[in-house]
Amino acid sequence: MKEVLRFENVSMHYHSKQGETIAVEKLNLTVNEGEFVAIIGPSGCGKTTLLSLAAGLLTPTLGKVITDGCSFGYMLQKDELFPWRTIEKNIFLPLEIKGTNTIKERETALRLAEKYGLKQFLKNYPSSLSGGMRQRAALIRTLAVNPDVLLLDEPFSALDYQTRLSVCDDVYKIIRSEKKTALLITHDISEAISVADKIYVLSARPARVVACHDMDFAETEPLKRRENKAFSGWFEILWKELNA
């Protein structure tokens, strides 16, 4: 399998007048093409820093982030749709930013929106959509520029539990059917188990890799996985590692 992202002994230090904070220390991880990788860690352990490093928004203090020329799409906790733009215009936003707002590119984006049930909402403003639909629109916006790797920063944590399960299922299916590589960051253990092929467990700040597990489920759909007997076994293992 081809590697799309690799962290090599990556350390990240933040400087402020109060002193120096080490957010990430000597961290190694790899993401292969087509994989769904989850990173779990206690809250405040520098998870978001990792994604910013992967996306190239931050440069590591020490070590290397190797991306092999991949393009990244970022999905945040909240949908961050612009309320003054219609769903359609929101989806076109990354095209405008990249300066590739051509008819062909727009049609590709619209086809995606249509495929995943957003067609009837295209002319609506975000405020008239449900939380789940908004998050789906945010995903389509991320996919509009056809990125190689999706970086998901706790994309479901702002939703209520019911919506969260179904949106997670939803987003998972879309990412799979578009054959995207994904790197999910979360503090929700069961969410990580239900979607990931590979799970990295991080320590509290400074973040280091404590363990790395390959998930061995026969099922792929998140909701089905949750019913599997092995699910609770994995939960216990990860829970212990997180709280070690």
Partner: protein, 269 residues
Amino acid sequence: MKNENVHSKEHLLYLKGVRRKSALVNVARISVLAVLLLFWELSASLEWVNPFITSSPSRIAKTIYSLYADGSLFYHVGTTLWETLAGFFIAVAVGYSVALLLWWSESFRRIAEPYLVVLNALPKIALGPLIIIWFGTGSKAIVFMTVLIGLIVAILNMLNGFMATDENKILLLKSMGASKWQILSKLVIPSSLPDFISMLKINVGMAWIGSIMGEYIVSKAGIGYLIVYGGQVFKLDLVMSAVFILCVLAAVMYALVALLEKIVIKNQK
């Protein structure tokens, strides 16, 4: 929402209640005005008070009509209106641009901060004599005074609006590879539209303060001039009339901004 024409009896009753309440408020508002005017008129005409000092609605109407008849009404109103609008637009435009500049550069912002704080606290009228010497006794001085009063408020309000831009949305745009210019045009300017409108509203008030104050200090025409002149020659009818005209003009200008708000901000949440 689906069947807008089909409502339950209870809902119709509720709607009726809402309508009645707002009608009642309107009636009460007009009644308050009518009673006040009537009381004012009566107490003046029955000489409970000295109408020479308090004036009265009918005397105000007569004064305004005589101003209109000798052609000076529009001259004075026009002078003040021109000064106010010119000062308003210059203050808003310059204030907006300076705020943009301050948003753009953090070091510029830090350097400018103490100056803005001091200029904001300074009572601009203290500069009156300087302004007369620099700009003469015409409209130019008054427009300058108006700009001075509105400018700092415009800068501070707009800068607050720009700085309040959602950090996560900025992060999102950066992850798409947006330049600072794109962040400004796609996010900061549209998301600060409500702040822009509220800045306009504040500056309507500031512009009138500026132009009237300017005319108090130095003028040969305008509504502020009428007020000062009326006070000096003890023509209180004239003072009251000028204040009345001012009320109407300020209300109209505010209503225009409120209308703009309705048109522009349909979809901001």
